[in-house]
Structure formats: structure tokens, C-alpha cells
């Protein structure tokens, strides 16, 4: 049964552009006619995949990792309120995202031509992994020209200054690449890693959720709907539970 027909078919058709061999698959492989039944079956749940638990980075080079670790530590810093993006595993979250289907642009339309367009037309760049790979060296080169060192080697104040210039779109990057769009992607991915469920590698120990008071992957607030203005009493919970239940960091 074609549980995930769309993504397989997309893969097939995109593959077909490159290779006619994809068309040789038997017709019965995915097509499904549903008649006089509900196609429900056991053990077919579309559950999230576990991230690759091997230590270290899968996508980032050492230089890329140094940049991302330094940048996210400024975007969401460790401070008196608690851990920041670096301490909660956001670089590893972004690494696993870029190493996976999101990084490959599985939900991005990537056909050329790719002129820049106007801002209201949105993203006109490649896949996220291509953009990180292309832009990090450009930003480092620009930082070296403007501040004398690669981004990660700068002090926190200079890093903040460089990020502000990048955010405004005022960093003169080589090749006409869009530094502002890259900054927005990096900030979005950092916020995702800080607040996404810990199963994806960031938000370690649900620190992002604890910071704001979000109770996480709960599913029933019926007892609390009418208790206006009261503090919700239960701690956050992840899709993989809580450390108190499993003994493991979640």
C-alpha cells in the first residue's frame, strides 16, 4: 500500500528526469485501488525517525561547525536566564537537519532559472544544505576583510556586530549571494532547534520549553481549560518522555 505515495512518487519523478530507469518499475509497486474497505493496518504508523545518534557532526566540516557554534551562541546566548542554543544542542540539531531530507530540499522547488526576484517572491536559492555550504565560507571571508578574522575567532561583541550587518543585508558577500536570506535561515533553524521536540537533537533537557513555560507534547488539557490565570502545574514532557521516567537525558 502506498502509505507515503507523494514522497515516493516525487522521488520517482525527479529521478525520472535524470534516469529513465525509474519508469521500469512494475505498475503494481505503488498504485492502490481502495474499494469496500478501509486500508488500515497494524504497525504502519508514520512515526518520526530517530536522529543519527553517532557523536559529532555528519554534515558540517570543522570550519562550518566552528561558524555555526559561534553564531547560534550569539543568536540565543547562555545568560542569567539559562542555557542558550549552543548548550542545548542546536548545532547538532541543524547538522542532522542538513544531513537529512530537509537539507537536501525535499520540500523545496529547486528548478532553474533562479534569479533573485523581489522580497515578496520569497526564497530563490538552493537547498538548505547547499546554502550553508556556499555561504559560510563567504561570510568568513567577509568577516576576515571587515574585522580581521574568521567569524568564530571574533569576540562576542564583534560577532554581534557582524551578525547585525548580515541581518540587514549589508555584508558584501562575493558572488552576489543573499546574506540576508542566509541569516534568516540560520535564525529560523536556531529557533527551531531551541524549541523543537528534543528527539531532533536540540532543546536538550527541554530547556527551551522550561524557559518559557511550554508543557510540551501533552495531549489533554480538559481539566485545566477553565482554570483561568492559574499556573499549569506539570513539567514539560517530550515525545520520548522525561528523564525522570527513563533515566536518560531527553
Amino acid at each position: 500500500m502506498a502509505r507515503d505515495g507523494m514522497s515516493r512518487r516525487v522521488a520517482l519523478r525527479l529521478g525520472a528526469v535524470l534516469s529513465a530507469a525509474a519508469l521500469a518499475l512494475p505498475r503494481s509497486a505503488f498504485a492502490d485501488t481502495i474499494r469496500r474497505r478501509l486500508p488500515w493496518g497494524p504497525a504502519a504508523a508514520d512515526r518520526p525517525e530517530r536522529i543519527d545518534a553517532r557523536p559529532g557532526y555528519l554534515f558540517f566540516t570543522d570550519a562550518e561547525a566552528a561558524f555555526v557554534e559561534a553564531a547560534v551562541a550569539r543568536l540565543i546566548p547562555k545568560d542569567e536566564l539559562g542555557p542558550g542554543a549552543l548548550e542545548t544542542g542546536v548545532p547538532r540539531f541543524i547538522d542532522r537537519q542538513l544531513a537529512g531530507p530537509y537539507g537536501q530540499g525535499d520540500h523545496f522547488y529547486l528548478q532553474a532559472p533562479m534569479p533573485k526576484g523581489v522580497a515578496t517572491q520569497g526564497w530563490q536559492m538552493g537547498s538548505p544544505s547547499e546554502v550553508y555550504r556556499l555561504l559560510i565560507p563567504q561570510v568568513n571571508r567577509w568577516a576576515a576583510d571587515a574585522y580581521g578574522q574568521a567569524f568564530a575567532a571574533l569576540g562576542p561583541d564583534k560577532q554581534d556586530e557582524a551578525l547585525k550587518v548580515l541581518e540587514k543585508g549589508d555584508a558584501s558577500l562575493k558572488g552576489g549571494v543573499d546574506g540576508k536570506a542566509f541569516f534568516e535561515l540560520l535564525l529560523q533553524n536556531t529557533i527551531e532547534g531551541f524549541f523543537a521536540d528534543p528527539i531532533y537533537g536540540g532543546n536538550r533537557d527541554m530547556a527551551g520549553w522550561r524557559l518559557i513555560g511550554f508543557p510540551g507534547a501533552r495531549y489533554d488539557y480538559r481539566d485545566f481549560v477553565g482554570r483561568h490565570g492559574e499556573a499549569y502545574p506539570l513539567p514539560p514532557v517530550s515525545l520520548s518522555g522525561r528523564r525522570e521516567w527513563t533515566g536518560k537525558q531527553s
Binding site: A2, R3, D4, G5, M6, R8, R9, V10, L12, R13, L14, L23, R27, A29, F30, A31, I34, R35, R36, L38, P39, W40, G41, A45, D46, P77, L81, D106, H107, F108, Y109, G117, V118, A119, T120, Q121, G122, W123, Q124, E167, T190, I191, E192, F195, D197, Y200, L211, I212, G213, F214, A217, R218, Y219, D220, Y221, R222, F224, V225, G229, A231
Partner: protein, 588 residues
């Protein structure tokens, strides 16, 4: 090409809400119905179960249930003198994919349009004079009245188990409901949902400043419900993962929860998944559809004969299929002639945040349509004299659940990152209420859909090209709504408020609403409409096109209630009239 020349009675192109309603009514009438759906099967226990449904990253930000733009998207520009570029990732709107379509991840906001919305041109000209509708504003009457549609609204609301409070029963205004709505034949099937704190504070303040708040009508169950087909839905648990998510709890109306188990048990119905219709095939004189050509998941191209073809895909795909198939004359914005692609419209939204120091709002408790609404400034519920715009919208607090990647409001002048941002997010997440405004967009001569000359989908077919921008009418209207929302916000007693106006050109990046409308509109004149009042193609009478494509302009409400009602109306016209005497149901 493979071929199945034995015609089915009815072929449905796309199997979301409109396809499921069509299938149910037409199989009950004894017709053989085949649905072709390009995506895969989806169901509650496997695709959005409570053990993994509460996953903001995967479902919203990684688009698990949405249309995949890698396969098919559209191109976009604000004006005809720009080069349209592909929407390379989803943003402003989120069409669904697979069985159930957008009916899985919608909020369940079920509205009726106002009686005056169906006669937008004649009503506004009648009340404010011909000058109130500029020459470039191409609004029209629907060719159907609210009174004709009432029983079909009622049918969709009972199918969905809508929770709400009637504001007008048979012409008598009811306390606690929407006093501006059209007359209803009976109350909603379920009472309103339990109310959270934010909407409650808003409603109290709104009443103090003279507005008329009432509970949002919600296809989220306030109690266990058995619908007229005998299908059971469970009470909503206010989990906050509803809008943009499937419901793991059988508490939100969807094709899966309200129709499919019955429809799929009928012997005269079949569904083929993974089959994308690429063209409606026409007879040599182009006045009759012989069937459709579709491509299955192996890439095989297959012809399927049919006596009736129903385009029941999302509005953007319905319009594109008509353009690709040569059904009707494409719209030309230079001359104003032609109808396919004409009168594309959208919605215009804004918000006002209220920040408290002393009130715990707990915004993570929510449901897709849980909220309190003010309708005083929708449609023509207020005097527009001297305002410089027509139309309106509702405003209110809808507590859909504050998932933190998406929702971490900060006061004015807060930086977007760094320690100051972190402190503002931490200090305000639990103590902020956001009033949303949800405004109509009129149709305008320069806003339209056609085929893109450059970009193609994964099958090599031209993409749809959208040319759209807000006009002065929309900006004046939205600014007015934002000011009224600010009136309520100031009365809510917070520390500070922040008004987020919608300024400048329409931007396809930030999420706004999945309420694209028009492009194949209904009407009384084949020169200015693609389909007649029964949603039947003027040009190819055995093609019917139910969906928000039928709206001549958008109203200030979420579209699904009206789409559901129009689909029932269209299905009954097929079953009761067309089948007995195939041909045009309205003489041009």
C-alpha cells in the same frame, strides 16, 4: 497509453472535503463514483496518532501533511509587469496533500457568509451608489442567495458537528450568538467549546467598548457527537496541535472522521491513490468531457472514461486543470475578456498583541477554532459611508495553541535575537493575548491566475502563475479593522499593546491563510463567470467545479463552511436534475 474505456458515472479529481461530500451524495443516489487522488492514504491511527502528533517541527515546519512544492508549486508576482518566480517553499498558504486534503490540517472554522456577501455588487451599489465600486474592482453577485443555500450550510454543519451558538434563529436574534449572521433554521449541533482565558478577556473588553462577542463556530467537538452518517467523534482535549496538524483524537471534523468509513464501504465507490489527473479530455467540439488522463506512481499514463467529471482538487489545481484542458476561455487582464483565472482573491490579515504583567494566559491550551469573535465590522454590518472601502472582516482571539517555534510574541522594538530577545520571549510567552483580524479581499482586474511561460512541474506541465497584490480597498479596510482591534486591546488592561498592521505589497513568505479563492467563479453570465449557479461549466456541461474557486470575490470569513454548502448544493443538482436530463442546468 493504457485505457479504461468503460465509463464510470462520476469521476472525482482530488479527494479532500469536496470530493468526499460529492462521493457521499452521488453514491447515495446510486451512481458509480471513482475518485482519483494524487497523494496517498491518510488515517488517524497511522498518520497523526496521539503518540507522535504533537510535533511542531515535523508537521508544520517540515510540511508533513502539506502539498510538496518540490513536485508542484506555482509562480508568483505582485504585478503583471514583473517576472513571476516559483514559490520554492510553502509560506503564505498551506494546501493539503493526500486523502482528506486540507481537511486534515485545517482549524475547523465553519462560517456562513452574510446574505449580503452573495450579492456583493448589487448590494454595495444599491446602498452606496455606483461610485462605491471602482471600474477596476470586478466584484459580482454569486447567482445564488443565502436563503437558497441555508439548508446546505445546515447539512455541512451537522456533518461536522460544529460547536457554536446561533445568533439568529428564523429571523429572531439570539443572545450570545452572532447577531449579524443570516437566519438559521436551527441551532448548531453542539454547544460552544469551553473557553480559555485569552478569548474570555477579549470578549469582556469587546463588550465594554460596545462590540458583540460570541464563540467562534468550531468543527472541534465540545462533546462526543454522532453525525447523520452515524460516525462518532470524541470530545476535544484542547491539546493545541490542531491548526496545521491532524487530530489524533477524532475530535476535529475531517473527511476521515465524518464521511470516509461510510463512503468507502459502499459498493459503488472506489478510490485510487497515487494517481494524478493531468488533463480532462474533451470531445472534438470541446463541449463534452470524455474522461480524464492520469499518471500513476510508476509514471504510466492512463485514460479513464467518465460520464461526469468533477474537479474537486484545491482551487489552484482546479483552475490549472481547466487551463491545461482547454475548458472555457482563459482570462485576459488587458481586455478583461475570458473567464478562467479571472477574479483570483485572497484574504488580508493583521493582529494586535496585548502583553500582561499579571495574568497567566496559558496560550498552549487551545483548539483550531477555539475563540471569541466580533463580527460588527464584517461585510456590510456597519456603515461604510465615507470610509473609502467596501467589505470587512471579523476580529477576535482564536486560541489555536501557542506552539513555541511559531508563537513567541515580543513587545515592540524587541530585537529578533540575542539576550534581549530571549528575555522578552521568556517574559511574555505565557502572558500575551493576540487579537487577529481576518479581512475580505475584493476581486480586481489585475489579480488573476494563468499558466506560467517558463516553469514546469515534475511532469513537465506549465505551472500556474499567480498575479496578485492588495489594493487600496484592502489596505484601508485592514487598517480600519486593526484600529477596531486596538480599541478592544486597549480595554483589556494589559501593560502594553502592539499593533501589527499589514502594510505594503502582498508577500508570499509569511503564513497568512490558506483561503485562496476565485479563478473559476460562479455567476449568471458566461461572459463573466466560468461556471453557472450549479457550479457547472458553461462550456463543458458535464464538468462541475465545486470549491472556493467559485467565489466571485472573497468574504471576511474562512471559506470552508461556504465551500461545503456549495458542494452539497452542486451534488444535489447533479443527482436530482443533471442525471435525469444531462445538459446545461442553466441556459446561457
Amino acid at each position: 497509453m493504457a485505457s479504461d474505456p468503460a465509463p464510470v458515472d462520476v469521476l472525482l479529481v482530488g479527494f479532500g472535503w469536496t470530493g468526499a461530500i460529492m462521493g457521499e451524495v452521488l453514491t447515495a443516489a446510486g451512481l458509480n463514483v471513482l475518485a482519483l487522488e494524487r497523494g496517498g492514504w491518510r488515517d488517524t491511527p497511522n498518520d497523526f496518532a496521539v503518540t507522535f502528533d504533537q510535533d511542531e517541527l515535523r508537521y508544520y515546519w517540515r510540511h508533513r501533511l502539506f502539498q510538496n512544492v518540490a513536485h508542484e508549486t506555482l509562480t508568483f508576482r505582485n504585478r503583471g509587469d514583473q517576472v513571476a518566480l516559483p514559490m520554492r517553499r510553502l509560506g503564505s498558504f498551506l494546501p493539503g496533500a493526500g486523502v482528506g486534503g486540507g481537511g486534515i490540517h485545517w482549524n475547523g472554522q465553519v462560517w456562513r457568509f452574510l446574505p449580503s456577501d452573495f450579492v456583493a455588487r448589487s448590494h454595495n451599489v444599491g446602498r452606496y451608489g455606483a461610485a462605491a465600486v471602482p471600474e477596476t474592482m470586478t466584484i459580482q453577485d454569486y447567482g445564488i442567495t443565502y436563503a437558497e443555500l441555508e439548508t446546505y450550510y445546515d447539512r455541512f454543519e451537522y456533518l461536522c458537528g460544529v460547536s457554536g451558538k446561533a445568533g439568529n434563529l428564523g429571523g429572531k436574534v439570539q443572545a450570545g450568538g452572532n447577531p449579524f449572521e443570516g437566519p438559521r433554521s436551527r441551532d448548531y449541533p453542539n454547544p460552544p467549546l469551553a473557553m480559555t482565558y485569552g478569548p474570555t478577556l477579549f470578549a469582556e473588553a469587546a463588550a465594554r467598548v460596545g462590540f458583540h462577542p460570541f464563540p467562534h463556530p468550531a468543527a472541534n467537538m465540545s462533546r462526543a457527537y454522532t453525525n447523520p452518517l452515524g460516525l462518532q467523534l470524541g470530545p476535544c482535549t484542547y491539546c493545541g496541535f490542531c491548526e496545521k496538524f491532524g487530530c489524533g483524537n477524532y475530535s476535529k471534523a475531517s473527511p476521515q472522521t465524518t464521511i470516509l468509513p461510510i463512503l468507502l464501504s459502499r459498493p459503488n465507490f472506489a478510490l485510487r491513490t497515487g494517481c494524478e489527473v493531468v488533463k480532462v479530455e474533451l470531445s472534438a467540439d470541446r463541449k463534452h468531457a470524455t474522461g480524464v488522463t492520469y499518471v500513476d506512481e510508476t509514471g504510466a499514463t492512463i485514460f479513464q472514461a467518465a460520464n461526469i467529471v468533477v474537479l474537486s482538487a484545491y482551487i489552484l489545481e482546479n483552475v490549472r486543470l481547466m487551463l491545461l484542458s482547454g475548458i472555457g476561455t482563459p482570462y485576459d487582464p488587458r481586455t478583461g475578456a475570458g473567464v478562467i483565472g479571472r477574479n483570483y482573491a485572497y484574504q488580508i490579515t493583521s493582529s494586535v498583541n496585548v502583553f500582561y504583567d499579571d495574568k497567566l494566559i496559558n496560550p498552549f491550551i487551545g483548539a483550531g477554532s477555539l475563540g471569541m469573535i466580533v463580527d460588527d465590522f464584517n461585510g456590510d454590518n456597519f456603515d461604510h459611508s465615507g470610509k473609502g472601502f467596501i467589505g470587512g472582516g471579523y476580529l477576535g482571539v482564536v486560541n489555536t495553541g501557542a506552539r513555541p517555534i511559531e508563537s513567541h510574541p515580543t513587545p515592540d522594538k524587541t530585537p529578533k535575537w540575542g539576550s534581549a530577545w530571549k528575555k522578552a520571549v521568556a517574559g511574555n510567552y505565557l502572558k500575551t493575548v493576540s487579537i487577529a483580524t481576518h479581512g475580505a479581499v475584493m476581486s480586481h482586474r489585475g489579480n488573476y491566475l494563468d499558466l506560467d511561460p517558463t516553469y514546469t512541474d515534475a511532469l513537465g506541465r506549465p505551472m500556474l502563475r499567480m498575479t496578485f497584490d492588495f489594493t487600496d480597498n484592502e489596505h484601508r479596510m485592514s487598517d480600519f479593522l486593526t484600529e477596531r482591534a486596538s480599541d478592544a486591546a486597549k480595554a483589556m488592561g494589559g501593560r502594553e499593546i502592539k499593533a501589527n498592521k499589514r502594510s505594503g505589497s502582498y508577500d508570499i513568505v509569511p503564513y497568512q491563510t490558506t483561503h485562496n479563492t476565485g479563478g473559476a467563479i460562479m455567476g449568471t453570465d458566461p461572459k463573466t463567470s466560468a461556471i453557472n449557479r450549479y457550479l457547472q461549466s458553461w462550456d463543458v456541461p458535464n464538468v462541475f467545479v465545486p470549491g472556493a474557486n467559485a467565489f466571485p470575490q472573497n468574504a471576511g470569513y474562512n471559506p470552508m463552511g461556504t465551500v461545503g454548502a456549495l458542494t452539497y448544493w452542486c451534488a444535489e443538482a447533479i443527482a436530482n436534475h443533471y442525471v435525469k436530463s444531462p445538459g446545461p442546468l442553466v441556459q446561457a
